[in-house]
């Protein structure tokens, strides 16, 4: 099943640029001068230990966090101005527990000016869930919640997807299905940034592995290095 609007492929020529990005929380610097350029239509896996600045980088790209200094350009505009082109999946679900998956998506669709249920049902099916599931999201398993959260992030067919640990608490089979879905989106011209501790899941899927350490990008590789500790790659 295709989950992208074919006409949107013409919009995918831009890129993401960050220059001298510094983000401080009080005296703690979460980002310490991140400068990087990311091409459109690529799948980037962002890796690093806890506290490396991965989530802060993603939140800054999403426009949820303002940099202390430095610049962020998404398709040539600020993150706020480019918000229609950004899909963001956070560690929490960003969903109302008391409403069903379809009710949640119906509401978020209205925020993007999407009318009707067709698109909502399409993305729910694309993540492997049943749109007719009437249970409130609060009663979903963690894995189902993650999938529904992904459905919310791709609802408005964004050009750039920012995914923060989408595989946490998801079983291996479901995680592989999510990777396959993301690969198909990359092939449709989407740019994907995915923060994870499970690097091995993205071997063969990600175009580039971006390594972060202490608030900086320290390396960018095309594959997981052979000397990368196996327990960290899982």
């Amino acid at each position: 099943m295709t989950i992208s609007d074919p006409s949107s492929a013409t919009r995918s020529s831009g890129c993401v640029v960050v220059k001298g990005l510094i983000k401080q929380f009080g005296r703690f610097a979460a980002l310490r001068g991140v400068t990087a350029e990311f091409a459109a239509g690529k799948f980037y896996a962002i890796l690093g230990d806890n506290g490396a600045g991965k989530t802060t980088l993603l939140r800054t790209l999403a426009g949820l966090s303002s940099p202390t200094s430095g610049e962020v350009s998404i398709l040539g505009a600020s993150p706020r101005a480019a918000c229609r082109d950004i899909g963001y999946m956070a560690h929490p679900s960003l969903l109302y527990d008391e409403m069903s998956g379809l009710e949640n998506l119906r509401y978020f669709a209205r925020l993007y000016g999407i009318a009707g249920d067709q698109r909502c049902e399409q993305v729910i099916r694309a993540v492997g869930l049943d749109p007719k599931l009437a249970r409130p999201v609060g009663q979903y398993s963690q894995g189902m919640r993650q999938r529904m959260s992904l459905a919310r992030a791709i609802l408005h067919d964004p050009q750039i997807l920012l995914l923060d640990e989408p595989f946490s608490n998801v079983d291996m089979h479901s995680a592989r299905e999510m990777v396959a879905l993301l690969k198909s989106m990359r092939e449709a011209g989407k740019t994907i940034f995915l923060v994870t501790h499970q690097a091995s899941l993205l071997a063969g899927a990600a175009d580039e592995f971006v390594w972060m350490e202490l608030g900086k990008i320290v390396d960018r590789t095309r594959s997981i290095p052979p000397d990368f500790p196996a327990e960290r790659a899982q």
Partner: protein
Amino acid sequence: MNSLWSITLATLAKDIRLEWRSKDALNAMLFFSLLVVVIFSFSFDPLAEESRHIVGGLIWVAFLFAAVVALNQTWARELRNQVLDAYRISPAPANALFLAKAMGNFIFVGLLEALMTPLFIVFYNLRALGPAWQLIPVAVLGTWALVVNGTFFAAMSVRTRSRELMLPLLLFPISIPAVLGMVQATTAILTGEESARFWIVLLLTYDVVFTTACLALFGAILHAE
């Protein structure tokens, strides 16, 4: 403008649906107000004439305290699972969220007032000597005065560590002119001793000024970290 109202109504419908399913705010407000009515009626045993002079204060203070419960709930449910972030990254106008929240609180507090007012009338043996219909504009304008500032300050305080304490600290001082207007207007209508027109105009002016100010500033509050 079209999208503003369409998103406002969608958000309002979503909030009413969530409240209907959880009943968090309504239950807490109802029990709180009920306790106030019963405790006050046992504490004082006023004659009908005395009641007319004091009940304006009692009723509005009870509604003000009860409204704080609903106001805290309004934003607390947006923080669960960080759902507010989903709104912040969307192209939806900030004011649509504010208007929906204020209208939702207006409906919840209005519902509380509709349920509690008959109890006040029974417990305090009330009968208006002035034009009773004027109680309607006083209730509408007074309730909006409480919820518009309350919604704004609840949004400001929701990400602070002690939000339950912060909201009354911010809201009550700024609500003094409105509370004064509500109490004086209600007393004037119940006793029939003077006209409530000045206080109704004061409430209307207060509502216009603070609604405008809240709408102008809410975007900055929503997008603040």
